[in-house]
Amino acid sequence: MPCGLFFETYQKDESIFPTLWLRVWMIALGIGLLVFPFVAQPISDWMGMNTLNMVNLIFIYIVGAHGLNLLTGYTGQISLGHGAFMGVGAYTAGILANMGWPFWLALPMAGFMSAAVGMIFGIPSLRLRGLYLAIATLAAQFILDYAMRNWSSLTGGSSGLLVPSASIGDFTFDSDFKFYFLALAIAILATLYLKNITRTRTGRAFVAVRDRYLSAEVIGVNLFKYRIMSFGISSFMVGISGGLWAYYITIISDEHFTMWLSVQYLAMIIVGGLGSVLGSIYGVVFMVALPELLRLPAEALTNVYPDIFVIFSSLREMVFGVIVIIFLIFEPDGLAARWHTVRAYWKLWPFSY
């Protein structure tokens, strides 16, 4: 019996799901995800919250978090503007939908519009790195935020923009239950895309740019091309996420796409794990579920301390900040790495040598 994972052919080594158990678990997960919406109602009743809504939001954010992880985790470019890029996608989808464009055309357009905007603000990344790039994207966030708020003839300003529900042909995704399958499909597509792009020439170029860009350039990786490309793909994904969000919530206002959203996105991929596909999923689940789960103890505390809901949103922000700090100090590689250590420990237990 082998005491570890040993691949005997290249084909085995390169497969996406290398072991039998992994494949079994993936199939189980797939079945679970398909069955979940049918049993969501009792679960929601039991937990006292709308779990289907939460899972839909998780799917939407997974698409965006994958995008940011590609840029920040794989290519090493920091972006503090992804909240605004998501907004660009949401508004593009919303405006096109109101002009009568069908869903299946408006959603990709949302992605392309976001990609265009993201690439424009990504141009400084050629000359700027690290700190400077973070500051440049921060400025992008504020400028786009301002445009969304003040260009009211286009975006509806602070009163918001109404968006019809998504529909393909005669079928309309107008409930949490129906939307679930749409969001699930797109989240799976995004995950597969990210998993695969990191195994291609492009993905390896991204990682080379992140790890040592001077050496990368010396061996012939075109820095400018790959940085801009990374910005483009990343903003495309976050734009799709924004478009989905618009179709799901059906009313867009600028208040959602502030700096806070950008920070949340970054927190998701940091808590989950930078440069890891599973990481962004863990991070999103953690960050979306956390405020919902915090609400339960808060409700329990209302008897003792009735004012708790007044400060609840501040309390939530504080918990958020503390969690990010704790992760950065004690587990900078995120939940994905933690899961990896736990699994590695048990894999060959008790003879792990």
């Binding site: 921060l138 708020r149 003040n150 922000e317 504080m318 900040g321 990010v324 950065l328 100090i329």
Partner: protein, 295 residues
């Protein structure tokens, strides 16, 4: 023309506070190479603590002022030790994110403790009486703010130039390893940088608090600091001061002349448009040191 002068003068006053906060920011960056997104929250905390001591507890202003400074210094030291020191040597993204998280915690803590309404220093410390200076009308509190801001800028400029601690800080900024081998405690210098950074920001907070009252938007000062330091060059303290003053004036002028065309609120983003332009044209600012990379 008179309006224009008026705008320049009021911009200069706000700019002097920007300069003060930017100096703290540049100082922290220069000696610890940490970019501090929580600088604005230091402003916020400083303003609130001074207001609390003065208005709620009724401590005379001189003592509240002193106490605020002491608390700010303590806060800087504690945060450096607990949160920032583990981040030495970590990638930039982690360092940026930890200061953002710190900012979130400080801001929500302030909201939990003191709510979100505007707080006013009562009784007012400086009078709002308007003074004529040639064609310009300026209220007394603006003059005091400007005076105090410059006093602190001057004191700290002298501190870096002449005192032993200041010189050791510059040595650390220059080369940490060499400084350490010369017997300078780098850890101590880090702590001092953070406490001075917190102190000048807190002073900025209570100065601005006297003009418009204090509320949660005071933390926006921390964001306006970025254009200021980028304009001056991230690692130049003199540059930060000049950058702060320039951004104060620029945002005032752009705000009042462009609002008509762009529908209000230009003042909020004008500094960031300037920031993007500087980054495209001259990324290391006016006085920053160019990074040269060799393979």
């Amino acid at each position: 023309m008179q309006d224009f002068l008026q705008l320049i003068v009021t911009g200069l006053v706000i700019g002097s506070v920007y300069a003060l906060v930017a100096m703290g920011f540049a100082l922290i960056y220069k000696s610890t190479s940490i970019i501090n997104f929580a600088q604005g929250e230091f402003v916020l905390v400083g303003g609130y603590i001074c207001w609390w001591l003065y208005t709620m507890l009724g401590i005379p202003i001189v003592w509240s002022f002193m106490l605020t400074m002491v608390i700010a210094v303590a806060m800087g030291v504690v945060l450096e030790r607990l949160v920032l020191r583990p981040m030495i040597g970590e990638p930039i993204i982690s360092v940026i994110m930890i200061t953002i998280a710190l900012a979130t915690v400080l801001k929500s803590l302030v909201t939990i403790l003191w709510g979100t309404q505007i707080k006013v220093f009562t009784p007012a410390i400086f009078s709002q009486k308007a003074i004529h200076m040639g064609p310009i009308l300026i209220s007394e509190v603006y003059l005091w703010t400007f005076g105090f801001a410059f006093l602190f800028l001057g004191v700290f400029a002298a501190f870096f130039k002449f005192t032993r601690v200041g010189i050791s800080m510059r040595a650390v900024a220059n080369d940490q390893q060499v400084a350490q081998s010369m017997g300078i405690s780098v850890k101590k210098v880090f702590a001092i940088s953070w406490s001075i950074g917190a102190l000048v920001s807190a002073v900025g907070g209570l100065l601005v608090g006297n003009i418009n009252g204090i509320n949660i938007t005071l933390s926006d000062f921390g964001l306006k600091v970025f254009p200021a330091v980028i304009l001056g060059g991230l690692d130049s303290i003199g540059g930060a001061i000049i950058g702060g003053l320039t951004i104060g004036i620029l945002e005032n002028i752009m705000g009042s002349y462009l609002d008509v065309y762009l529908g209000g609120g230009v003042k909020e983003i004008a500094p960031f448009i300037v920031l993007i332009i500087i980054l495209m044209v001259k990324p290391y600012g006016l006085f920053g040191i160019k990074e040269i990379e060799r393979v």
